[in-house]
Symmetry: C2
Subunit: 396 residues, 2 copies
């Protein structure tokens, strides 16, 4: 049987699903000695290992038969209640536990997107969301992002095209690191309600703000200023407790959650029981201290990267200083290509992610994402120095 036997049987939707060239380049970066500013990995030295070990032992000893058994698709009820309590006017039955936010994105698109439907995304936007949405064959319209997030003055003309939903990342957006301003939040929520276009709010980086206080979520603003049921909200423990647990949540009107539950039942029955119980234990014990440690550490690393960029890249690239999250976003002069820069960078043993794939409508060839959450301060300094040398080579 020839090699293409299976390919001829793949569904049409898989044409939109491709392995990226970048992924191949980034495999090279796993070689020893390469400093990676590429992956969006949390700092593993901050994982709550002891607390997790103790909680895991206790759970298996005292509730092992429950922790290892099948459980409900909706999720572990105490965890759903804990999440509901962190949100305004929300009940546990409006909360679905998902296997990472990635699953929330997949299920939302499965619920809402018919082939050819329009989805409104930010530009740049989270690459993983495009990977989740693509198999459902949407077409995209994009709103540009600047350092205050989505440029909402460009929104109204696009809403007239009646997109199925707006995918928004208001806090420390992956990849740009930008935060949506309060006035823009209000405009976005009001316009979406007026045009009756739902918002899918992805708030994975909510707790990673470097200043005191956090702006209200779109979900919260919709409860007070909008229709009250126009936002489906998503967040995760991946940036605060541990990504390897794959525990996240989607919150929305009960009728939406009910339908998502049915889709999730077909997709993976339920999220691992032990992981949900463990996440609940950690959420109710070490969560606040974890968040404080992570914010402190990442803020310091942000400062180191900011300083290193200022010392080596001034005049060669533009960037904004992120007020939270894990990423700097660099814009090179328009004629430079970040993919070409990556080839040079890999030879200098430093890696980053080129920005183009984060643009649903193309463009952004001269942009790139740098992560400061995973590397040590020493590696950040050395990595930026190497990046600067690589840039010198392609400027010539």
């Amino acid at each position: 049987m020839d090699a293409s036997f299976w390919e001829t049987r793949f569904a049409k939707r898989t044409e939109r699903v491709k392995s990226s060239a970048i992924r191949e380049i980034l495999k090279l970066t796993q070689q020893p000695g390469v400093i990676s500013l590429a992956g969006g990995l949390p700092a593993p030295e901050l994982f709550p290992l002891e607390a997790a070990e103790q909680a895991c032992s206790r759970l298996l000893r005292e509730h092992g038969k429950e922790a290892l058994q099948y459980s409900t698709t909706e999720g572990h009820h105490p965890l759903r209640e804990w999440i509901a309590a962190t949100l305004p006017k929300t009940n546990a039955n409006e909360v679905l536990i998902t296997s990472g936010s990635q699953q929330g994105l997949d299920l939302a698109a499965k619920l809402l997107v018919d082939p050819g439907d329009t989805v409104l995304v930010e530009s740049p936007t989270y690459l993983g969301a495009l990977q989740a949405f693509n198999p459902y064959e949407p077409r995209y319209v994009s709103v540009p992002v600047d350092e205050s997030g989505m440029q909402v003055d460009r929104l109204e003309e696009l809403l007239k095209q009646k997109p199925k939903f707006i995918y928004a990342l208001p806090n420390f957006q992956n990849p740009s690191g930008s935060q949506l301003g309060l006035e823009r939040r209000t405009t976005l929520v009001k316009l979406a309600a007026e045009y009756r276009v739902p918002i899918l709010e992805d708030d994975a980086y909510h707790h990673l703000n470097f200043q005191e206080g956090i702006m209200p979520t779109l979900y919260e603003l919709d409860k007070t200023l909008g229709s009250g049921n126009n936002v489906v909200y998503m967040s995760t423990f991946s940036k605060t407790l541990a990504p390897g647990l794959r525990v996240a949540w989607t919150v929305g009107p009960a009728e939406v959650i009910r339908k998502l539950v049915q889709l999730k039942q077909g997709a993976d029955l339920h999220t691992a029981t032990l992981n949900q119980m463990l996440a609940f234990e950690l959420a109710t014990t070490v969560f606040e201290s974890q968040v404080a440690r992570i914010r402190r550490t990442y803020r310091a690393r942000r400062d180191v990267m900011q300083e290193a960029l200022s010392q080596t890249m001034n005049g060669k690239a533009r960037w904004n200083t992120p007020q939270g999250g894990m990423f700097f976003w660099l814009t090179l002069p328009a004629h430079l290509d970040a993919s070409r820069l990556l080839e040079h960078a890999v030879r200098h043993k430093v890696a980053f992610v080129p920005g183009e794939p984060f643009h649903a409508g193309g463009g952004g060839k001269n942009t790139l994402r740098l992560s400061f959450s995973y590397p040590t301060p020493e590696n950040i300094r050395e990595g930026i120095a190497r990046l600067s040398e690589s840039l010198e080579e392609i400027v010539d």
Copy 2:
């Protein structure tokens, strides 16, 4: 905003995704005093709790930063190697770790099914597979199952309709408990190769055989008698270690696995890292002893249910004696309705699952599934006695 605001935005595919009436009835069965012969739950008293606790502690202590971090979509490499070694002529790069077999079913349909495509299923077949496939909008053709599994003499006329794939459950099928005979396996594999129709083999109950030795899988037979790349094989730790871990696998040609990896990346990034490492630890230590305990225990419970059925149901229903797995399948006289029986049974405080939803093409109203893996021998006897009383009521 009216209640139907969201409903008008749901994608067309969701019309095929419904909550079942049975699920609602079965919620009643969670009341105290109800004996459930309904759910397909493993016996939790057989979970390897101590081994899991020790392995979990060791993993978090010695490999915690890896166990709680993001990992590759393909899965934990040592686990992929362990699985490959259990199968004939198989490499680790032909193995994908999934979040339960349920995810394997979802991804397979996402890969292969365009709306309107034909999928060939057994009748009855696993309900969860239909729930996974339905959002991709296939139409079904069915091959009846008898006590020796799929009636392969009915297969050839259906293969002429060029189905996209054959979904087969050769070992102790959920729900019927039947096992596909060796001669039928050979016929199935050869016919599928001849008509170039791939087989998706779901072997969740592989290790739960009550006799010595197990027949070769379709995957193995295809390596020797068929094309060698016509079968995608799935199995799971849910019936041998613990379902709450959500660790299973899909095995197939490298080009299929590569594409499934891309789809899984969009669906949930990867299966929980800790769970994969824990499953590997348990697989390489207590797996054999677990399987032996489970087979012994379930065989004894099978015998108890067989005896109880013989004492109370002879002449009132037909059933075959399963040689493995977790289920008896009862056929009532044609004019009786198992849903009506369930209403009476719930009043008698015993629950089961009516057989109709397991039939993709309808029918089977007079069939039902009884699980013997979860209830104790005492509860099996009492449950069957109550079921028999309930049946008396609807026979009148």
